[in-house]
């Protein structure tokens, strides 16, 4: 019944946010980038349902276009980290050997590396763009995925059912894909949903430091970081994007739990 609740709640929240993001591709109530110094920092009024920001831009429109940017950045980053991380974690954990040793040495070094320095470096090299952010954050999070996936794989490869597959004459690639990978889905799914949240927040922190998705494009993260000086005079500026981040994360987490339960035959 919980799984059902997860799915319903998560699904509804998720589709609202996604719907909003898609709608923003074709329509927003106002231009998300047009400034209007006279109406700056206005609270919710007709015409600006969610109020305006420090440049007088319409917050609702920015939330809508921001949804698309934030979600796509988060999605692509998580996909990047999870795919690379799982692949490397799977390969190194499964085959071990010198390749594993070198990869782990590198991975440990990268894990000990603060994300911001990495982001700064990569943004400096690629230039500040949405894709730069995705690659930077992707690289920053991949080592964590590798570590967790590799741990899972290490324990799975000890399992007899993996050996059983070998005994049947299956090649190692088949064994890895058919037996090891599906059995590491649960931790990967939990990790991916957490990552999604971390990425949205990390983009916000990067924006706070000026390294986020370049303006005037809106993301929830840079809206939130722009709201900081106006916390007490224009609280809606932070509450609205903050609320959307929280709801989205809740929805992702619920869907993630539902996915995990669904993938687990023991449930």
């Amino acid at each position: 019944m919980f799984a059902r609740l997860n799915l319903i709640f998560g699904g509804i929240l998720g589709s609202v946010v996604l719907g909003m993001a898609l709608l923003a591709l074709v329509w927003t109530p106002a231009s998300p980038v047009a400034i209007d110094p006279i109406n700056r920092l206005s609270g919710p009024i007709p015409g600006h349902l969610f109020g305006t920001d420090e440049f007088g831009r319409d917050i609702l429109s920015r939330i809508m276009t921001g949804a698309w940017t934030s979600l796509s950045v988060a999605f692509l980053t998580v996909a990047f980290a999870v795919i690379c991380g799982s692949a490397i974690g799977l390969l190194t954990g499964f085959y071990r050997g010198w390749f594993d040793r070198i990869a782990m040495l590198l991975n440990d070094a990268l894990l000990a590396f603060p994300g911001i320095l990495l982001a700064l470096g990569i943004v400096a090299i690629i230039g500040p763009s949405k894709y730069g952010i995705i690659i930077a954050l992707g690289i920053a999070y991949t080592p964590k995925v590798i570590r967790i996936v590799r741990g899972t794989v290490l324990s799975l490869r000890q399992k007899e059912f993996v050996e059983a597959s070998r005994a049947l004459g299956n090649g190692s690639v088949f064994t890895m894909l058919r037996h090891v990978l599906p059995n590491s889905f649960a931790p990967i799914a939990v990790l991916a949903t957490s990552l999604f949240g971390w990425v949205i927040l990390a983009e916000s922190a990067l924006s706070f430091l000026g390294l986020g998705v370049p303006p005037p494009a809106a993301t929830w993260g840079n809206m939130l970081s722009a709201a900081r000086p106006h916390l007490s005079t224009a609280p809606w500026m932070s509450i609205i994007p903050g609320g959307f981040i929280a709801l989205t994360l809740l929805s992702i987490n619920l869907l993630g739990d539902a996915l995990r339960d669904w993938l687990d035959p023991r449930m």
């Binding site: 400034i35 440049f55 400096a124 000026g210 390294l211 303006p215 005037p216 000086p229 916390l231």
Partner: protein, 491 residues
Amino acid sequence: ELVSGLAGDMRAVIPAGSTDDSTLTVQQHVYEGLVTWKENGEVAPMLAKDLPQVSEDGRSYTFKLREGVTFHDGTPLTAEAVAKSWNYLLEPERGWSCRQYFDGSGPVEIASVEASGELEVTFTLVEAAPALLTQMARADCGEGGIMAEAITSTDTPQKPIGTGPYMIESRRSNQDIVLTRFEDYSPREEPADGYAGKKEALLDKITFLIIPDPAANYSALRAGEIDVWPAIALSYAEELDGLDSISVDSVNIPSISTFAFQTSKGPLTDPALRKAVNRALDRKGMVDAIAMGYATPSASVIPVSSQFFDEAGSEALSYDPQEVAALLEAADYDGTEIVITTNKNYSVMYETGVMAQAYLEAAGIRSRLEVIDFATQLPNYYSGDYQMMTWNYAPTLDPALILDRVTGPKATTASKIWDNPQARELVDRLIAAPIGERQAIYDEIQTLYAEDAPMLVWASSQATSAYSDKVQGYEVWAGRKPRYWGVTVEE
């Protein structure tokens, strides 16, 4: 005792070893130079008894030192110490940023600094240069502050030791710097004026708390943990102004907020397009939104605070959407994208960029915002590697020095903005001219500037401080950096 916010740590021991505001703020309480600036940009004596005697050929300046002045470590101020101090600064390996103003890169080239008596120092120039005193007094060069021999006799000095009203008691890296009153300080007689005159140390102790984050400064001021936030982030101005126990003061300062144009390459080589960009920005809107009104919209290269500023000079390039279309026509504008470079480290610069981009779009000029960190922006500025870049100039009490900074040939100094030999010549004349004769030169410069439009000025800055009502005698002034002499705190 007074507690003041400070945006960053003191980064150098020698005067103006780093020219950021925080270093200079602390140092101006510790070091004093031979001469210094009054509020109106005039040069006044400080450690020198009087302004120097200049030789006939204008190549030799002789300063008489005041008697009874001692350094914080108890050693007396002697001509020997002064000469050593200046020679120390002028050695190339010290990397003193202001050496450029004295080594012949500009009009001034010092040949030697020597003690010509117990309390008499002589500066000898390679050739006559009337600008010497102005350059020596520069606040952004720490007035060429005189250091005790404890510093000049070592390569790795530990802490500033000067003759100023306050001395450094302790310093915790990136946390705080504590100054205490220098009991043996000997003030001048004249009333305080700018950096000059009588500096009375009325406080026992000044604590500079290093707080880089504006929000933290705001909270600290509200919670009463600091008494003064010397340079507030303008987005907090309204809120602070509304509070009972806190005053927000603001004053025009000789500084301009600008966009530098790259005139030698890229899309902005055409003066007509540069004018169009100038005309496309609604400076009033920008000042309202970015500076909350704590700045004066202006398109003039001369700060509004200056006595030489006039309205007409500003109008030639001010906001005029109608003009833009005509100018674009004249420039044959083909929709080329202009990259606006800015950074997020200084929120004002960032916001400037965002608004400019929006106004340019609205005027039909395509543009893209490039946000990088300041440390990356800085070398780009120096190498001229940009198209249009937000840039604000530190205030110099003599506005001529801003023109001096921006004018010159890009070929030799890539960081120059206004590459026009005629302009350079005018600026040289300007700096050498006494205050009374400058207006005419300024007018000429303004006319030339409006034709070239080598940069975009959108406001004359103000200095805005917020301070607790317990603080008495504190004044926001054109020099921007807080002065804590003559200030007391009610307990």
